[in-house]
């Protein structure tokens, strides 16, 4: 089949590579800054095991092409595969609306993007109400992205389960046909309605966010009880009923998938007056947690931050990303500015986005070199745990900083080690 995959997400690349590998003709539509564009230049920076190799192989075989996000699907395409970022719902509607009038009667749109609940049905409606088109032709189904970073490719090709939300029988059968090569050991497709599949994805994200916020709550308690949260985390994770995943306390999570828009039900459902109380609270705790390092700094310096120089390592909402959507660094920087501090930031990839967000200001300096950023600083905050930050040259840092104060928002450094190196150390739930 001819399949057009849209999106800059990890999910888009994994789906495109995996589908091409089973013989489909796949065009991957990405924006100019998309990581997939860097495949040939050798700077493919996504450290996802096997993904770059598979994508290169499929390109060589001629089954995978990478083209522009704004390019419309090839006329031979009969499957439109949407793995867009959560903020591109409007673009998804635009893509569906601009499909030709005479599409194949069994033209399939697979929505793999994390959009609010109800979006797949809304896309279906957009598709059916195209001017001059036969409303019986085509279908939109929901196949939520359930990938785990670091094991994404395997997660697709050997998935333990698939959620497939389809209202129309032929559409469900067609999805099963596309997934057949990845669904061999046993039938692991779980069929449901589109909004049920979307809701399941929301519930999964909600559960993960709840675990993180719960751990952050525990970490804040650990702070005042003189308990090292790391030991607690390992002890909890060892309990099989709980497991190890998503128990890392930190200075808040960002990204679009956890934004209020996505975590809410679709606007059509909002008027029911019901709200997800726990999720609302979880997001609230997370917003507060983003200022955790600020609060520690504020107390360390007895509420006097005016004129201080503060360094932030990591502005992206997660490592390996150039995006800063809802990133904790943004709240920290705003809080520091309001108290008259000067902020110096290093990030391997997110500085352009940060510069665009901040505009021209005297109290923000962006650095290409992490040590340069820390020179003369009264505090160093580690906010995004890029691998390069895990074992810095502490001796050099100590020599170049004005005050040897480390605020570790991701608990990546060893408190004992850095204290021996002469630093004052604050982690999240550990000192």
């Amino acid at each position: 089949m001819f399949i057009a995959v849209y999106g800059d997400t990890l999910c888009a690349m994994v789906s495109a590579a995996a589908l091409a590998s089973t013989g489909h003709q796949v065009t991957l539509h990405v924006s100019p800054g998309g990581v997939a564009n860097t495949l040939n230049t050798g700077n493919f920076s996504l450290r996802e095991p096997g993904l770059a190799d598979l994508m290169l192989e499929q390109k060589r075989e001629g089954r995978l092409q990478v083209v522009g996000l704004d390019q419309r699907p090839d006329p031979r395409v009969t499957v439109l595969w949407l793995a867009l970022a959560p903020d591109l719902l409007d673009y998804a509607h635009e893509l569906v609306r601009s499909l030709p009038v005479d599409i194949d009667p069994e033209f399939l749109v697979v929505n793999q993007s994390t959009f609010p609940v109800g979006s797949t049905e809304a896309l279906q409606h957009t598709m059916q109400s195209r001017e001059g088109a036969d409303a019986r032709h085509g279908a939109v189904v929901s196949v939520p992205d359930l990938l785990t970073e670091g094991a994404a490719l395997n997660g697709f090709t050997r998935s333990a389960h698939w959620l497939v939300g389809a209202d129309i029988p032929w559409a469900g059968r067609l999805v099963a046909e596309i997934l057949r090569p990845f669904n061999r050991r046993r039938d692991s497709i779980m069929s449901m309605r589109p909004r049920e599949a979307e809701f399941t994805k929301l519930a999964i994200n909600g559960m993960l966010a709840t675990r993180l916020s719960f751990m952050n709550d525990m970490a804040n308690l650990a702070d005042s009880l003189d308990v090292d949260i790391e030991r607690v985390r390992q002890g909890m994770g060892a309990d099989q009923r709980i497991g190890e995943a998503y128990l890392y306390p930190g200075c808040g999570f960002g990204g679009l998938s956890f934004s209020r828009d996505v975590m809410s039900l679709a606007s059509t459902l909002q008027h029911s007056g019901l709200q997800a109380q726990l999720i609302e609270e979880v997001l609230q705790i997370n917003e507060r947690q983003k200022e955790a390092l600020f609060r520690k700094l504020w107390q360390h310096y007895d509420t006097e931050l005016t004129g201080r120089k503060v360094t932030i390592w990591g502005a992206a909402f997660k490592p390996e990303s150039s995006r800063i959507d809802n990133a904790p660094a943004l709240k920290l920087i705003t809080a520091l500015w309001a108290q008259g501090a000067e902020v110096h930031v290093h990030d391997p990839r997110a500085l352009p986005a940060l510069a665009a967000w901040a505009g021209e200001r005297d109290d923000l300096v962006l650095h290409d070199d992490p040590y340069e950023a820390a020179a003369g600083a009264d505090a160093l905050m580690l906010v995004t745990e890029w691998k390069a930050y895990w074992s810095p040259d502490f001796k050099r840092l100590h020599a170049e900083m004005n005050k040897p104060l480390l605020l570790d928002g991701r608990n990546v450094w060893d408190p004992e080690f850095v204290k021996r190196a002469g630093f004052t150390y604050y982690g999240i739930g550990r000192r």
């Binding site: 200022e291 504020w298 007895d302 509420t303 705003t334 108290q339």
Partner: protein, 535 residues
Amino acid sequence: MWRVLAEHANNIKDTHLAQFFADDSQRFERLHADCGPLLFDYSKQRLTVETLERLFDLARQQQLPEWIDRLFGGEPVNSTEGRAAMHWALRLPEGASCVVDGQDVAAQVHEQLRRMERIVNKVHSGQWRGATGEVVTDVVNIGVGGSDLGPQMMVEALCDSAAQTSSRLTVHFASTMDGSQLSQLLRTLNPHSTLFIISSKSFTTIDTLSNADTARCWLQHTLGDKPGVLHCHFLGVSSAVQKMTEWGISEEHQLQIWDWVGGRYSMWSAIGLPIALAIGMHGFRQMLAGAHLMDEHFRNADWSQNLPVLMALVGVWNTNVLGINAQAVLPYDGRLKQLPLYLEQLEMESNGKSVTRDGQPVEHQTCPIIWGDVGPNAQHAFYQLLHQGTEAVTCDFILPARRYEQARDEVTAELIAQHELALANCLAQSRLLALGDAALKDADQLPIYQRYRGNQPSSTLLLDELTPYSLGALVAMYEHKVFVQSVIWDINPFDQWGVEMGKKLAVDTLAWIRGQGEVSGVDSSTAGLLGRILK
């Protein structure tokens, strides 16, 4: 002059209001005036155009024009305390020139407004931090009298003009010396995210300082005794800079007012900080602009069109000539619930005096008893007395013509209908009070206990809408009304010696209650009560 007025009154006092209206279909046209967003209808008062001319003569005889000049000239019109009363200067627009005794008053006023603005912006952007770095979400204004009534009334009245803030922000008020409000608030508030405003012109008010001490203790119990606690959780507003500093308010968190601002005239100054926190600085400046409009109107408008002058003289006519000693303030808008309380202080603390400016006992009645409530609720309470009691009472009806029109939610239509219902009730009540049975069909068929005497005079203040601008103008109008009446009665409206001595007596009494010293030299009632308390 008083004799002339009395004679004139003799000619018309037997004329029922129903008759006045029957005789003159143009009565409303003749007896109303407006200023910006306010319309003042006094055609339901028991007077004629001729009455007004006599009242204007009285005002001239009492040198009203000269007194207005003194007020706006910054002269020490508060003679017993040797101070000017320049609340009007708080409302001067940016760049206005006002130099009194070599001080550029306008510049000082705007400097404080800018300080307020910095504080308001910091709180609104979620960047005012408590001692542990938490965002402040609750602000408690601790103050009493003028430092409480005005701000609280305004914050409640302007709830529909609330400013957008980045996180939740709630403004609370604590006033009474027994800690009633504070004890309730401290139960629910989080010390980490609560900011207190200690608001006291003298910074010696025992009610306020005792509440402030309790608040400080509550904070230190949780947050410890670090200097950051006072710094981050307290703002001070006062004219006594030294005393604020001694109490522990850090210098950059002090806002200043001046000797020339009276407590009950002070919500336009930094005392109004809770208002600015609630409606934002833009709203606050709108409120000042509305009041400034009224200041200019009062100074410049012809008396026949001058709202404060007309309102004051109508009041003098009622009090001194018709012998009506009670006045009800009846807003037909639940947001104005606190307005009667505010006006009780403004009028009764200002003009509840019985000594003239040259130290003689007054020869005429001064301020009547003023009370009130939200009109629709008062209909179920004391309106019975208004309609069928034996007391003559004059009423001020206050209502906005439009409401809920900007709201866009599922019950907008229903709420507009409720507003219309309130409007209808207001007009119906004032009509029935004025006309009595004449407002009814076939009243003479009814039993006597269902009849209405009528002839109760009232004025109606119609606002286009309740906004910071219109409410600013309304309150300034009452302020100037009070001033005009004080001129007619030849009393000083800006002091309040009557509230001082009780505080002093309480000092000894407190010692007795705490078991320090023998109870002596008191009346048997006080002694008896003390005995029971100490039992």
